[in-house]
Amino acid sequence: MSLLQRSSRRYLTRHPWLMGLSVLGVAIGVAVVVAIDLANTSASRAFQLSAETVTGTATHQVVGTGETLDDDVYRRLREAGVRPSAPVVEGYGTLRRGDRTFQVIGIDPLADAAFRPYLGTGASGDLDLGTFMTQDVALMSAPTAADLAVSSEDTLRVEIEGTTHAVAVAGLIEPRNERTRRAVANLLVVDVSTAQRLFGQDGRLSRIDLLAPSDDAARAVYLDGVRRALPDGARLQRSDTRTETVTQMTEAFDLNLTALSLLALIVGAFLIYNTMTFSIVQRRGLLGRLRALGVTRGQVFRLVLGEAAVLGLVGSALGLLLGVVLASGLVQLLAQTINDLYFVVEVSEVTVAPWTLAKGALLGLGTTLLAALPPAREATNAPVSTVLRRSTQEAALRRWAPWWAGVGVLVMGGGGLLLLGTQQSIWAGYGALFCLLVGAALLTPLAVVALASGARPLLGRLTGVIGRMAARGVVTNLSRTGVAIAALTVAIAATVGVGIMIDSFRGTVSDWLEQSLQADVYVQPPSLVFRRSTATLDSSVVRRLRAVEGVAGAYSVRRVRVQARVGPTELVAVEPGPETEDIYQFRDGRPDTAWPAVRTGASVLISEPYSYRYDLGVGDSLRLQTDRGQRPFAIRGVYYDYGSDLGVVLMSRSTYEQYYDDRGVSGLAFTAADTTSVDALIADMRASVAGLQDVLIRSNRALRETSMRVFDRTFTITTVLRLLAIAVAFIGVLTALMALALERRREMGVLRATGMTPPQVGGYLTLQSSLMGAIAGILSLPLGYVLAYVLVFVINKRSFGWTLQLSVPADVLMQALVLAVVAALLAGLYPTWRMARASPALALQDG
């Protein structure tokens, strides 16, 4: 180790607190990014694995127009000589024991071995095919059975769409390797006919798996043969299409989480910048001496970057460890959110992908080095002859403050151009957000000078000379206070922005629910995906509920997934009643002409996200795959809908029945007769369906509350990320104030020597840190508002296509101010305590 490196190392170890906090700042930043990435990867990996498990070696699939297809298609394919081919019925069920969600896959054991050999269902296996094909029995993974204390021949109680079924364990799958172990961990394998019974899909299949030849020419001929054998309403697709669709579903959601996780790292970068700048300012003399002795600028530059690299490496390493721990907590939150919003996924473990860790480490180190670049450059300018003192530096910085502010305005303007120049890119949206934050940070020094100078007379009147000194101190130490305040401002503004965004979102959804939930009672089967309830109500349940006394009106809703030319589409078929026109608020189109058209013909309405996602609007035609083949539907209106970010197509029930054979009902809405109380009606309804399918019968208010609860749950991760960003900002203020305190020991010594008591010194410092907090709080409000504006009108719009009403809640703003001042106050406690205790003689000597 060279003497220069040794000098560096000693400097770092002599300031363990400062360095420790900086390392912690980087660590938390990296941890958050890594944790989100790991959680995302684990969830999509879990989904992919389960998709691959059920897909097996299949290269292609035949699917229907909706979720299922007639099993006659399978017969036709076999007759046409398409082999190997295997029918599949799949869905999800919850095992009462362990309250665990399982993927239930129904297969034909005689045809399946070529596709999923690891299930051991082939003729050579020891499975009793007779029992498997004729009784309600299932195979499950041996390790999972051991986990749940289930043994062969035990009976499982599986709940599917509200109905509980008894299924006996007919055998255990012994996974041959780790991959198979994970793949089959949450799988129940049943015979295809059993699955049809469990899911109430008699005569229907989820899909038919095919194995096309690998030779290109042979494959083309084969696929052509398959297509010819298919009736209308059945479609051939590559088997990986499904995974792709799912990946696309959560793309915007994942991206937003990643972007938010980067926020913690950006705040962490401010921290590193702050610490490194402090270390340079404190060592200005020392660096000047080194320069006089012949150390070149390049050597100084490398020295400082080397120190930053050490902090970055240690912080990143710690961050990776923390990230893995944090991920195991976040992954459950994330899985819950995905289950609420998109699809069923059971994530039992965190997949620690080496690439994620490498990315985290690189990001941590890169950010640290980038943040250390300006201080490193500053270090090379350390005056060699040591005549220039810090006060002149500070004066120079104050002089430059307006220039920095000018650059800040330019950077913000650049962000604005980025927004104007792009239409849909979410990354450009976040790029603009980043420009906004950096621009605001550059504006901060000037704002600090203005605000602190403005506060000086006021503080002077309130607390005398100490107050004036405190205000002046903020300005004279601008190189320290400016960065600390900028870091705190950015972090608090981010919390304000995200807070306003969530609140606006919540308010909009709440208003929308109020508007769209106008019936008195809602009935639906329990669904594993809250926002996409495609489960079917038992027809006897529907009949009985409609007949309950006190029901004045009943409207059915059918939700199915169909294939549109633009992609997989959620189709909602409703019975437009007299209130329907109030329920759906149009963004485009005229309700008075649109509804009659929708009621009577091949016309649809589309939700705002659908319109945004596929760039469709009133007057366009949407081609949907129906049981009568592909048909065009005229789009008559675009309505506001906050239920699904994937978008929805709405048609009338009569049109739906005209084009689709399905007669199922996903949900029912009832209005109570004037003479009947809603509570009494609900009680009667529950009584009427007792012993049948287990359905959720909820009042308007209960459904609204549940919806809002799910809404809040989906924002839990955002809130966690927001809190972590605040934690990093808090550490930032702590290091900044500690740095300031350490650096000003001599000044404090002079104050003590001239007669200031320790409480007065303490009061002075406390006042100063509170002032810094207050300035940060005040600056964070307008910045937070602008951030919220961009989040609501750009990021949300670009990610999900929603129009939200921006509402600025007073409590979020108050919280921001209090948070800023309290953070600064708390962060000021330790330095205040140290400073007030420091011996003036020692402090003077050290200077």
Binding site: R6, S8, R291, G294, T386
Partner: protein, 239 residues
């Protein structure tokens, strides 16, 4: 015409600083030659431009006009990095406030210029020990500078300035922070070391006690340099 045998040759140096809207000339048309092995003293009040002149001679700063040649090398035509490398090989410094590196031990402080000029660690250590023995504080080699008295710190600074056998040692108020006796001790140490090694020494000071040791006294007033031959010249120099 400059004498090629001189170690330091300054030609018509002018240094002007811009302060606000005004120019302030600190040095005006300064020309000077210092012979190899000479002990020269640069006198002048605070703010007379002494430190500026030392900065120009060492290549830390560049003149507004004129040339600085050390051992025939013109520093004013070199890049910043070249000047820094030249400085670390050929010039030693002693400062008023000692300017030791607080994060290095006494021994390491003395080794630093040697390491910077690319010597092997073994040679470094031997040379540093020899230098510390010569200034009489070899026993403090492993201490950090803040544990030493002012006099001891300045001895370390002297050892560090001479460790890499520079052509020229520049001392800026080397006795300014020391009491009379300690100051005299440090001066005599510095004087004897440069004499033994035939090193050229230029001391900037306003301490008249330095004068009896000097071969030559230069006065800087209002940015103009005047050369005086001390009246005791011809008698033997105090060591």
């Amino acid at each position: 015409m400059p004498d090629p045998s001189s170690l330091v040759q300054l030609e018509a140096l002018t240094k002007t600083y811009r302060e606000g809207d005004q120019d302030r000339t600190v040095l005006r048309d300064v020309s000077l030659q210092l012979d190899r092995g000479a002990f020269s003293v640069l006198m002048g009040r605070s703010g007379a431009g002494k430190s500026t002149l030392l900065n120009l001679i060492s290549g830390i700063d560049l003149p507004t006009s004129g040339h600085v040649r050390i051992g025939g090398t013109d520093l004013t035509t070199m890049s910043e990095t070249e000047r820094t490398k030249f400085r670390r090989a050929n010039i030693g410094f002693v400062f008023q406030s000692f300017n030791l590196i607080s994060t290095l031990t006494v021994g390491e402080n003395v080794r630093l210029p040697l390491e910077l000029s690319g010597q092997t660690p073994r040679t470094d250590q031997d040379r540093a020990r020899t230098m510390l023995e010569r200034v009489g504080i070899a026993d403090r080699a492993d201490d950090f500078p803040d544990r030493l008295s002012g006099g001891e710190q300045q001895r370390v600074a002297v050892a560090r300035a001479l460790a890499h056998e520079p052509l020229l040692v520049l001392a800026d108020e080397p006795t300014g922070n020391l009491d009379y006796e300690t100051g005299q001790e440090v001066l005599s140490l510095l004087g004897s070391l440069v004499q033994d090694t035939d090193t050229t020494l230029l001391v900037a000071t306003h301490d008249p006690e330095v004068l009896p040791r000097a071969d030559r006294v230069l006065h800087l007033r209002g940015g103009v340099l005047r050369d005086e031959v001390p009246e005791y010249i011809g008698t033997s120099r105090q060591a």
